[in-house]
Amino acid sequence: MIISLLALPLTLIGMQQRIAERLTGRVSPDVAALVTQLGTAAAARGLPVDPMIQKAIEGSAKGIPSERVVTAVRLVAMQLDTAAAALREGGLVGDTLMIAAGEFAITAGLSANDITALARTKASASALTVGLRVAGTLAALGVPPAETIGLVSATLRSGQPAESLLLLPAHVQSEMAKGITPAQAAAGLERAAAAQARHGPPPNRGQPPPHPAPPPHPSPPPHP
């Protein structure tokens, strides 16, 4: 496996080695060489490499021929670029977790515009990252893009904590089990989120009480 070390800053050489290590033994040498190159270039652009590595390992585990594995990895790289650009369009420079979440949303069928719309909700970085993952999950359930973005945006804007976002797919699924379409289920939840934003949370409906938060870890003393 020959990988050019020319003109790479030290940090990227380290990254290149780490990518190669993760692929060794799990993919064929040709795939390893190409994906290491693609991954290093992506890292240099500030993109997360994990989704690309995962796709390469997945393809190899499924017995897919090398060429198609590499094609799939290139697609992931393109989707990562699209996600990063969509976030920038929304006024954000995403961190690697956020960009990866955006890429997942695209895999699930959402568009760059959908991602930009979520970025424009001005949610916190961690909330938006969860929001992107949940949006992708809702799309993967069959909720159409417009209702997906409507529901996730409304939930982000309502200022509810992250676990409210994470509950959305389960709520949609339980509605679907009653025969309601994904679009209707999502629209109903969006109305509830918007109402909550206006009127505050509904009374506790017999939900188990939250766990007490663990004591905060003491922060290190300030250096002189």
């Binding site: 499924k62 977790l97 359930l141």
Partner: protein, 195 residues
């Protein structure tokens, strides 16, 4: 004012607010002394290439950052399994519905216990492969928990985004029919788990 003190105008010269030409004749010599002083300023860049390697090596020896990773008690996921109508030829079905039963704060480092279920009466072996185990079809076998062909595995996974599929009899990759699914890029579908 001590005899060593520069004249205020010469200090302005040193600050770059005026030039030598602006100084009156009697201060010219002092002005030139000031210019000679500044000629000794060393603005050459200093390069410290070894710092990167040493810093990263130092950091690598640090234990996992416990100051801001709080590993929560694993949350139990209560599952309702709805048997799908079995298609005899395929003989594989499952419904996996996740209810996150406790409202504990979600951080990047929290873990969630998840039970995976597949109803596959005809299968000889079933395993779980996904992003959490390098898609290794041998790493996570399910256990046949009922003679009716209910296969189960319980894993504790970090909060985040996961994709997975079941592998039946070592060869057939089957997504979870009850879970959200995405294109895997190879002509099949992967199931999605968002914790």
């Amino acid at each position: 004012m001590s005899e060593h003190a520069f004249h205020p105008l010469v200090k302005q010269l040193l600050d770059g607010d005026i030039t030598l030409a602006d100084l009156p004749a009697e201060l010219r010599a002092e002005g030139e002394e000031a210019v000679r002083l500044l000629a000794g300023v060393d603005r050459r860049p200093v390069e410290l290439p070894a710092v990167s390697r040493r810093v990263m090596r130092e950091i690598a020896s640090r234990p996992a950052r416990s100051a801001w990773r709080r590993v929560m008690q694993p949350r139990e996921i209560r599952l309702r399994v709805r048997p799908w109508l079995l298609a005899p030829a395929l003989a594989i079905a499952a419904a996996l519905i996740l209810w996150i039963g406790h409202a504990a704060p979600v951080t990047q480092a929290s873990f969630v216990t998840v039970r995976f279920v597949l109803v596959a009466p005809e299968a000889r072996e079933v395993s779980l492969a996904g992003t959490f185990n390098q898609w290794d079809a041998h790493a996570t076998p399910l256990v046949r928990t009922s003679p009716n062909g209910v296969w189960t595995a319980t894993l504790t996974l970090p909060a985040g985004q996961h994709q997975y599929a079941f592998v039946v009899d070592g060869a057939r990759w089957v997504p979870d029919p009850g879970a959200p699914a995405v294109d895997d890029g190879f002509g099949r579908r992967n199931s999605v788990l968002t914790l």
